[in-house]
C-alpha cells in the first residue's frame, strides 16, 4: 500500500542532488515570495483597518511603518511583490507555449532578478519623494 513506510523504497532524486542553477533558484524564489506575500497582505489590511478606526490607532500603525523595522518589512514586501509579479509574467509567457529557448530562459531569469531590484529601488525613491 502507499502508506507502507517500512519498505525502503527508492526515491527519485530531489532538489539537494542538483547543482543550484539560477533558473531553479528563481523558481524557488517565486514560491517563497508568493508565500511571503500571502502573510504580508495582512500588514496591508492592518493598515487599512487602522485607517477606518481612529486617528490615534492609525497614527500608531503609521508610526510602526515609519520605524526602521516597519520600513524594512515594507521594503521586503514591495520587493517580493515586484519579484513575484515579474516571475508571474514569465510564467504567463511560458503558458502560451513560447519562451522556452534556453538562452532566453536564462536571460529572463536574470532580467527578473535585476528588474525586481531596480523597480523596487525606483519605487522607494518615488516613495521618499512623496514623503519629502
Amino acid at each position: 500500500m502507499a502508506n507502507d513506510k517500512s519498505a525502503a523504497r527508492p526515491l527519485s532524486p530531489h532538489l539537494q542532488i542538483y547543482r543550484p542553477m539560477l533558473t531553479m533558484m528563481m523558481s524557488i524564489m517565486h514560491r517563497i515570495t508568493g508565500v511571503g506575500l500571502y502573510f504580508g497582505i495582512a500588514l496591508l489590511v492592518w493598515w487599512l483597518t487602522a485607517a477606518s478606526l481612529s486617528d490615534g490607532y492609525f497614527d500608531l500603525v503609521q508610526g510602526f511603518f515609519g520605524h526602521w523595522f516597519g520600513r524594512l518589512l515594507l521594503f521586503g514586501f514591495s520587493w517580493a511583490l515586484i519579484h513575484h509579479a515579474l516571475g508571474g509574467l514569465r510564467h504567463l509567457l511560458w503558458d502560451t507555449g513560447r519562451g522556452f529557448d534556453l538562452r532566453l530562459i536564462e536571460w529572463l531569469a536574470r532580467a527578473n532578478l535585476a528588474g525586481s531590484i531596480v523597480l523596487t529601488l525606483l519605487l522607494w525613491i518615488i516613495g521618499y519623494g512623496v514623503m519629502a
Binding site: 497582505i41 493598515w47 487599512l48 485607517a51 511583490l81 509579479a85 518615488i126
Partner: protein, 114 residues
Amino acid sequence: MSPDKSGTRHFWQQRATAIANVPLVLFLLWFIVSHLGAARAEVVASVQNPINAILLVLSFASILWHMRLGMEMVLEDYVHEERWLNAGLLLNQVFIIVVGVAALYAIFEMFIGA
C-alpha cells in the same frame, strides 16, 4: 488532481487572477506609496473616491483568490498526510475569509464616511 476537471479550473483561475493582478497590484502600490506617512483623513478621503474604492475591492478580490489557489498548490505539494492537508486547506480558507472580510469592512467603513 481529481478527474473532475477541478485541476483545469484551478489552472485557469490562477492565470486569470494573475493577469488581473498585474494592473491591480500597480494600483495598490501607487495607493500605498502615495499615502506613506499620510494622516488618516487623507487615506479616508482617497477611499471615498468611488474609483479608488472599487479598485481596492477588485484588488483584494483578485489577489485573495489568487492567494487561496497558490496556497492550495503549495499545501498539496508539501503536505502528504491527509489529515494535515485537510487542516491546512481549511486554515487557508479561514485566513482568506478573515483577511477579505477585514479589508472589505475597512473599505466600506471609510467609504460611507467613518
